[in-house]
Symmetry: C2
């Protein structure tokens, strides 16, 4: 059995001029790889008929399935649909079910339907039309010479809904994809090069059809061991154990879950509640935690004490402690955690105080200095970290390390 090959074609001038970062393709690639499909290329082109035609020719020369995103909104710079008609030698016809769907969407949003939106109900005659539950642009599914092309909107949440509910299930039904075997370990507390050195022997003995990838992200590294084909499943078990033993001491989790998911599950299973008191992260820890549906079961709230006065007024931090030790100190972050769980009446709490930069550093406490305190009903851990010089990096690393420090106390 051979691997089923997919090419993704994101369409849009806004990507080619750098105005938006294409995050859709990585999301799609992750999901599709997990389902056993192989992505052979991601080919971004502009909103021009000739560019799209050429991209389609190239894609069909190397892939079995082509997934196009973008270029299908109601505005006239969206020429994808007419180009697809030319490519597949067909014409646009009016589709009543699409119009019904558009009317339903518009009724819900209380907007008035206009001519341009109504035109979204025009679809190529010889394709399968899949309704878009969450938007007005329909999904177009073409089949020709045993190959498939799907055109879908580029709006991320529309694309994700369509891929999850419609496209992936249909592709799985139609193609017998080869199983993609993988296991994943989330590790922390090690640099990428130190990890590579530690794993040199493991990699040297790894069979040629297995691969090990490193995904570093703000203080964490996800290791992914993978191979194609079920015939490798017993070897995968063996290699997985070897890998696990090699990194045993630094493993956070042996799944593909996010930190906020792992934390949420730990709190839920232990019936514990959580609050945060945040300074340099400005609410991003609470934001990450509340991205998970149902977080209200265990997360109660946060006090973002960006200014020192808020630390004293709301959290009741001793202003003398702030004066004496500074806001970025073991003493203050410890009081912040204590106060958060007391005032927000939670079992556990996370507090952070640091210097995100680019300014505000001193020789004693340079930019990137962060204190994190995590508290459970029976334990308090307060720890100092030294991150980098980039504000964005410092905020993201602080969030990850705070979630991690809390997780470690709960699992």
């Amino acid at each position: 059995m051979k691997k089923v090959k997919i090419e993704i074609i994101p369409i849009g001038d806004e990507i080619l001029i750098g105005q938006i970062i294409d995050t859709n393709s990585a999301w799609m690639a992750t999901k599709l790889t997990r389902e056993g499909f192989e992505i052979v290329a991601i080919s971004t082109v502009g909103d021009r008929a000739d560019s799209i035609m050429k991209a389609l020719d190239i894609a069909f020369s190397r892939a079995d399935i082509v997934l196009m995103t973008g270029g299908v909104g109601p505005t006239k710079d969206d020429i994808t649909k007419t180009t697809l008609c030319n490519y597949f030698n067909t014409r646009l016809v009016f589709d009543d079910t699409v119009l019904e769907n558009i009317n339903r969407i518009f009724a819900h949003k209380k907007h008035v339907l206009n001519e341009l939106t109504r035109n979204q109900a025009l679809v190529p005659e010889n394709c399968t039309v899949i309704q878009n539950r969450v938007g007005t642009a329909p999904v177009l599914w073409f089949e020709q010479n045993r190959k498939i092309l799907v055109s879908m909107p580029g709006v991320p949440f529309e694309m994700k809904t369509i891929m999850t509910d419609e496209v992936i299930p249909r592709l799985k039904k139609q193609f017998q994809s080869i199983d993609y075997l993988k296991c994943s370990f989330l590790v922390a507390g090690i640099t990428e090069s130190a990890l590579a050195t530690r794993l040199a022997d493991f990699e040297a003995q790894l069979p040629g059809n297995f691969s090990l990838a490193y995904l570093p992200s703000y203080g964490l590294i996800r290791l992914r061991l993978s191979a194609w084909g079920n015939e490798n499943s017993s070897e995968m078990e063996i290699q997985k154990e070897k890998l696990k033993n090699t990194v045993k001491d630094i493993i956070v989790d042996a799944s593909d879950k996010s930190l906020e998911t792992i934390l949420g599950e730990a709190l839920r299973s232990k019936k514990l509640t959580l609050s945060t008191a945040e300074s340099c992260t400005g609410g991003n820890i609470a934001h990450r935690i509340t991205l998970i549906p149902g977080a209200s079961d265990y997360f109660k709230g946060s006090i973002v004490s960006y200014a020192n006065q808020v630390k004293s007024d709301i959290l009741g931090i001793d202003s003398k402690a702030i004066e004496r030790y500074g806001a970025v100190s073991q003493e203050v972050v410890g009081q912040m955690a204590q106060s958060a769980s007391k005032k927000l009446k939670t079992d556990c709490s996370v507090a952070v105080s640091g210097i995100a930069g680019p300014t505000g550093g001193t020789p004693d406490k340079p930019v990137g200095t962060v204190w994190i305190c995590t508290k459970t009903p029976t334990e308090i851990v307060t720890k100092k970290y030294q991150f980098g010089t980039s504000r964005e990096e410092n905020i993201n690393r602080t969030v990850n390390m705070a979630l991690l420090q809390m997780i470690k106390m709960l699992i």
Copy 2:
């Protein structure tokens, strides 16, 4: 004079399995577009000789310049260099200046040079080698049939340094690029299709060499008018004025700035301070505001009252009001805003309360119902919004609309 066309080829299996998001290409596209080059495609392929060879053939068929990133580190799966030798019919030779550079980098980092890293001094014979000041992999510059290929590392920091210091200056010297003219308007309170209807006459009269793009993002639409060539600059002024007049009533800003930047500048110029009280956004409004360096000048903090008890205990919301009207109500969100600015001692405040979903909706208040209250020293605005059914969308739209509602009161 014709536009100089560039194709970007990011190389790496890690992009194709979705393990990393390609942010390099957007950065490169922004810089190159600004310098007057046109990006015609971004074509990501895997670490395989045949994929890279095919991508090069395709790229040279439509572009004058090909910029390859990635696939040049010291690890064994990096086959780009030998593939380039095959493509350009040459062989690898040892380059002493590259070795010197590697030794310098390693001395600085206090690492020990190993065989794998030493091999990075092997370079194709008939190319120009550009030293990489900040890493060990050299930059390879090929010229053939008046076309150019540059191969450079994919590590973002190295790529950015090389592009800024070496590649862009050399390309500008060698190619006479055409200026890219553009102007941008951020508009709100209108759907994409209603905007397109309103702009139909404007678009109809727009000269053929001008283009207008719509970039919608969570309740906002950025309009970008662009044209190539300085000879169009006076026409650009005329068109810009026409466009501005057509959307006058819905313009938020006439720049490329983010909402949080616009809000920060407004607060700073008026010497006003801000706090937030957040329910469904879980701290994301505060997070967005504090992404801006120097936000502590005007932003004091936030109370994330995810649980109702936190609304009463910390914000002091009348629990009878919560019982009577519900947490997602005009009364409660109004009290939240009042309390935030009182307790956090700020001039202005933003409060939000809503149902992000996927559960928690009722017939009266379906998922996506959000109340936003914004307060200045002299004015309070409380407004109900009805967003969609996706949690992620509802959170992001609430943040955008809250920032926007506050901005509108300040400018």
